[in-house]
Structures are given as structure tokens and as C-alpha cells.
């Protein structure tokens, strides 16, 4: 299954906007695309905009957490934006919300983190 993924790099921030369902079938592609983009850009802030994610499970969360671990080691930041209620519950239960900040919009994430 293809993952619809929109990426935008702007002044040190990489905006990641996945669409649809983020599960095992798209996790590898999701991870590889992020790795490629993190390698070719100097990213200090990774912003996951989950507004258009209708489903996520631990395979999808693993990709987010893996990038967080990597970026945090390099002094970078990871923010979560716009999760729908059903996705937000999964983020909360997984503990991801205790390690990464959550904002209502990309603009807010940039204003707060940079």
C-alpha cells in the first residue's frame, strides 16, 4: 500500500504530513522517506502534522519514535500537530505525548519551538 506523504522543508524545519492510515503496510516506506529527507536537509525541528491521519498503530508510532530518538540525540526537536481524537488517544496511551510537545497548528509549533 502506498503512503500519501507530503513533505516540506523550510528554514531548518521539516514538515511531515502523512495522509490516511499509518500501519505496518506503510511503515517501511514512511521510515525510508523520512530518513532520506533528514539526510539531505539540515533539520533541527521535525513537525509531524497528523491532521489527515485516520488511523495509527504501534508500527506507525515506532517510525515517529525512531526519528525522535535520532533527532533528540543531535539536539533537534520533534513536534506533533493536529492529531484527530482517535489518533490522539493512541499517542497518549503510548506515552509519546509525554516526550514530544503537541501543538494545534504548524504555525504554533514553529512559533514555540522555532
Amino acid at each position: 500500500m502506498d503512503l500519501e506523504l507530503e513533505l516540506e522543508y523550510r528554514q531548518g524545519a521539516l514538515f511531515v504530513r502523512p495522509h490516511g492510515e499509518v500501519d505496518l503496510s506503510v511503515a517501511d516506506r514512511f521510515r525510508e522517506t523520512l530518513e532520506e529527507n533528514l539526510a539531505k536537509n539540515s533539520v533541527s525541528h521535525l513537525v509531524f502534522n497528523l491532521n489527515r491521519v485516520s488511523f495509527i498503530d504501534s508500527s506507525g508510532l515506532g517510525v515517529i519514535l525512531g526519528r525522535y530518538k535520532k533527532l533528540a540525540q543531535q539536539g533537534g526537536r520533534v513536534s506533533l500537530v493536529g492529531a484527530q481524537p482517535q489518533v490522539r488517544r493512541i499517542l497518549a496511551l503510548s506515552g509519546l505525548l509525554t516526550v514530544m510537545p503537541e501543538y494545534s497548528s504548524e504555525e504554533e509549533a514553529i512559533a514555540r519551538v522555532g
Partner: protein
Amino acid sequence: MDNEAKLEFKSLAANVAFARVTVAAFASQLEFTLNDLEEIKVAVSEAVANAIIHGYENRSDGVVTITMTAGNGALEVKVSDSGKGIANVKKALEPSYSTDPERMGLGFVFMQSFMDTLHVESAPGKGTTVTMSKAAVTPGVKEPIEH
């Protein structure tokens, strides 16, 4: 009367979505809320992903079987594989236990959190069966209909 359905498919990642949507569609004959159905989808997704990744070690020639039963206002879902099995089920059920650093060890945590019961039976070399159940309405809570 109980209703039952059985689903058999190859151990392909593309089938994870097919499995969770099918189980949720079957579950919708019971009085689950939309939130309940979302939780069932996550639990099924985790169980099937475990079967593919751990049971069959990402091989696509395995078969995953799901048996769904609806009866007495509750759903029971059995997800079985004939893969390598789990040597230590107790340890596998511990939060954050994972054999893969990219995965979070949350599969069983989600299954436990989103379903009412979870039972894991496994034999090394023979496979694993995860049985989960969830009640649609708590018995005795629903108001009787007045005529």
C-alpha cells in the same frame, strides 16, 4: 444466537488493514460505539502485525486466521498463526518488551488496553493464538425499553 465468521489470509502487511476493517464491520452488528470500533481496529491491527512480523518473521507465505464470534453482546476475536511461536509469553506481555528497537513493544499494551480480555497461547515452533474479547454494553447497565 451466536454469529461466527472466519477469515484466512496470507501474512502480508497489506492485509493488516483488510483484517481490522473486516473485524470492525463484523463487530458493528453489536452495539459498539464508534470509539469501541476504533479500539477494536487497533487491537486487531496489533495482533495481525505481531503474527506477520514475529510469527512469520516477515515471510509472506504464512497464513493468518481470524475467527470472530458475536454473542451475548460481546465480540471475541481469535488471531492465529502457525509461525515460530513465543518462547516466553509472560515476558512478551510486559510493556515495552520488544525484539525490534524500531517497534515500541506496545502491541500487547494496546490489545490489553482496548479489549476487555486478552489471552495468549503459544508454543515454540507451532504458532501463536491471541484471543481477545470486548463487551458492547455492560450487562445490567442498559435501561430496559418501556412499552
